[in-house]
């Protein structure tokens, strides 16, 4: 494996701020603010469109520049308060895909002020063996903010209450999908490759249907798009000791390049360019197993007359749960690979046949 330099304290702080922030689909303002705080010294202008996408353009130098869109989504899976039942008890809906089995007995934070709350469950003493075999349905779950809570109302967002931690060479926190991607794009804005025009899209509503990326891509109308997300590493042992053939990708083996997922095929020319760059620069990389899932590339690549796209993700275990786990080396290698690939985009890449 190639030697990776380590993450600076500043970079960890940014990732920590991002991970601890709350931004469910449709309500991404807190993350937008963090991004603007970090990037405004480096950019002359930005735009926030009507869905809340944060759009930042950085022009390159030289002639015949390719326009490259870079996308990472700001929203995380979470909850939305639906009914106030009084006495601090609230009914809620899920926002984005969450396995209901991840919810009982968890700490959450609610609303702009991050009020602490809990999703409780019936005491075991009051349950039957039969009942304990069934998943508690959403209709039975409630968020408890304590009696007397007055400022939370239907429509307010909520997320898991997990606080980010660095543990040795790993990062553990909520919303690593896709705050890690956001972190990568922030790092790129601070040190952009000069050979291309860069169109950064910090997108909204990816978790609820790749919606922000759709309009951002239409607005930007780029030549190419790179999407940086986080993809599940299901690299745990199987139940019967057999070889795990559904691992999707593996922690610690570098950025996961997509050939195909449930929403798009990465353009083969971009896949080839990325892989060749990784080999040349001796950056560890892996291919994400094809099929399933989807990234913003799913809605970007079908905009207008089609936009050749590729997804590259940072592996993360336990996505869409209270705490995901990722390796610092994977973050760094993804940043390295992305920078090196962007620097190597030939001006005539789209004149090659799409194969």
């Amino acid at each position: 494996m190639a030697q990776t330099t380590s993450l600076s304290k500043k970079q960890i702080q940014i990732i920590e701020r991002l991970s601890n922030a709350m931004a469910i689909s449709g309500d991404e303002g807190e993350v937008r603010k963090i991004i603007l705080d970090e990037t405004s010294p480096y950019t002359s202008s930005h735009k926030i469109d009507s869905l809340g996408n944060l759009l930042i353009e950085i022009k390159g130098k030289g002639r015949n520049r390719v326009k490259v869109m870079l996308a990472a989504h700001m929203d995380e899976v979470g909850f939305m308060i639906s009914t106030d039942e009084g006495d601090g008890i609230y009914r809620f809906e899920t926002s984005g895909g969450i396995d209901l089995r991840q919810l009982p007995g968890k700490a959450v934070m609610v609303g702009k002020d991050h009020f602490p709350g809990v999703i409780g469950a019936r005491p075991i003493h009051l349950t039957s063996a039969k009942e304990r075999k069934e998943t508690i349905p959403l209709s039975s779950l409630r968020i408890d903010l304590g009696p007397g809570m007055k400022s939370i109302k239907p429509g307010d967002g909520a997320t898991f209450g997990t606080r980010f931690q660095q543990i040795g060479q790993s990062m553990m926190g909520k919303a690593l999908d896709d705050r890690l991607g956001v972190g990568i794009l922030i790092d790129l804005i601070k040190d952009p490759p000069p050979n291309i025009d860069l169109q950064f899209a910090f997108t909204v509503q990816e978790e609820t249907g790749l919606r922000g990326a759709r309009v951002a891509a239409f607005s930007f109308d780029p030549d190419l798009a790179f999407v940086i997300d986080s993809t599940p590493a299901n690299d745990l042992p199987t139940w019967d000791g057999e070889e795990n053939h559904n691992y999707n990708c593996r922690l610690g083996e570098g950025p996961a390049i997509y050939r195909a997922d449930g929403a798009s095929f990465s353009d083969p020319r971009l896949v080839r360019l990325t892989e060749e760059t990784a080999i040349k620069e001796k950056i560890p990389y892996q291919f994400r197993q094809p099929g399933g899932g989807g990234t913003d590339a799913g809605s970007i690549h079908t905009q207008r007359s089609g936009i050749p796209s590729i997804s590259i993700s940072i592996p993360g275990r336990y996505a869409h749960t209270a705490a995901g786990l990722a390796r610092i080396s994977d973050y760094l290698n993804t940043l390295k690979l992305l920078k090196a690939t962007l620097k190597s985009i030939p001006a005539n890449i789209l004149e090659q046949e799409r194969k």
């Binding site: 449709g26 926030i48 469109d49 009507s50 869905l51 809906e93 239907p154």
Partner: protein, 358 residues
């Protein structure tokens, strides 16, 4: 009853199934003609009526979308004079047995015939697979009997012919109406009331009143009309589930207590806020409706057309949605129409800036 009732009755008596909206489009066009400056029809059949505003700035425009298509049925097979059928849009097969319908026959000999009356029939148990005895009979096993002979049916009816509900609109007690297709003709009526109110109000923005097609089949009209018009704002008016028998959950709303204002990722939060403040000021009752992802309306489309459009959705509570006996109050329809007109009249040249997100 208010004078919107005859128009609403007319609307809900016309067929206008998704993909075949011409009959109801004609009725709406005739009604809107004196209320707007210009009427056009889109490439896929949506009706666009524009009432120009007074502002001379590069035109700020608001699109108000109400879908005019309704769910129904379509003939898939003819066997010994009996018609098999499929649904257009979401139809619960349990409301079908015994329903009066019209078959819109298009066969060679049908030129001068009015739509054929028929009944949806549930065959007797012994004519069905054993597992369907006393169980819900799925749509593929139901048939329509027109009462005509097999020979007559072959001459008049073809595969692909439309079948609409024949239930006549009823005036129930308490100024309510029961009819099929109140989803979404109630909203069309509300938009019409809005246009009527605007005749005596000054407004700076251009107003596009759009009756969209095929909402029930993938929001086709909403995507395409919004792309063509490219408004600054989009307001979608649709229906929502009213509280009533079998419908009492957290996401149902009382009938007769005003429209609902949707809130969630599909809705622009500041646009929502403007409606809320305005309704409070005008003392128009309303409820907040939380929608987690897909609002289930044309708003899902308007929000993501081109560069994205600030979108709001307002819904009129109706009982028994997607049955031939939907129920709504005239009051809620009027309130919605008035609120739309008031919203439009207070739009100034700086509104877009005031709703920018940070």
């Amino acid at each position: 009853m208010n004078d919107i009732f005859p128009f609403l009755k007319n609307l809900t008596s016309a067929s206008g199934l998704s993909g075949y909206e011409t009959h109801v489009a004609e009725i709406i066009k005739e009604k809107w003609f004196p209320l707007v400056d210009e009427i056009q029809v889109s490439q896929v059949g949506s009706l666009h009526g524009v009432k120009r505003g007074k502002s001379d700035k590069p035109q700020l425009s608001i699109l108000i979308a109400t879908h005019m298509d309704a769910i129904g049925l379509m003939v898939t097979n003819i066997d010994d004079g009996f018609l098999s059928f499929t649904s257009i849009g979401g139809v619960d097969p349990r409301v079908l047995p015994g329903q009066p319908v019209y078959v819109h026959a298009s066969g060679k000999k049908s030129k001068d015939h009015k739509p054929l009356p028929g009944r949806v029939v549930q065959p007797s148990n012994f004519l069905l697979p054993p597992e369907m005895t006393s169980a819900v009979v799925p749509i593929e096993r139901l048939i329509i009997d027109t009462g005509l002979t097999s020979k007559q049916v072959i001459e008049l009816v073809q595969v692909g012919d439309l079948v609409s509900f024949a239930q006549e609109p009823l005036a129930l007690s308490g100024e309510t109406i029961a009819a099929h297709s109140l989803d979404n003709r109630a909203a069309v009526a509300a938009l019409t009331i809005c246009l009527e109110e605007l005749q005596t109000m000054i407004h700076r923005w251009d107003v596009w009143a759009v009756a969209t097609v095929q909402e029930e089949i993938g929001l086709v009209g909403a995507y395409t009309s919004t792309f063509q018009i490219r408004p600054s704002l989009a307001i979608v008016v649709d229906t929502t589930w009213a509280k009533g028998p079998g419908s009492d959950d957290w996401n149902t709303f009382p009938m007769g207590q005003g429209p609902t204002f949707l809130f969630g990722p599909n809705i622009h939060p500041k646009l929502h806020g403007t409606f809320k403040d305005l309704a409070e000021k005008l003392e128009i009752p309303f409820k907040i409706e939380i929608t987690g992802r897909h609002s289930g309306t044309d708003a899902f489309a308007t929000q993501v057309v081109a560069e994205g459009i600030p979108t709001m959705a307002i819904c009129i509570p109706i009982r028994y949605m997607h049955t031939p006996v939907e129920v709504a109050t005239i009051k809620d329809i009027q309130r919605t129409g008035r609120l739309l007109a008031q919203f439009i009249s207070q739009l100034d040249d700086d509104y877009m800036k005031s709703i920018e997100l940070e």
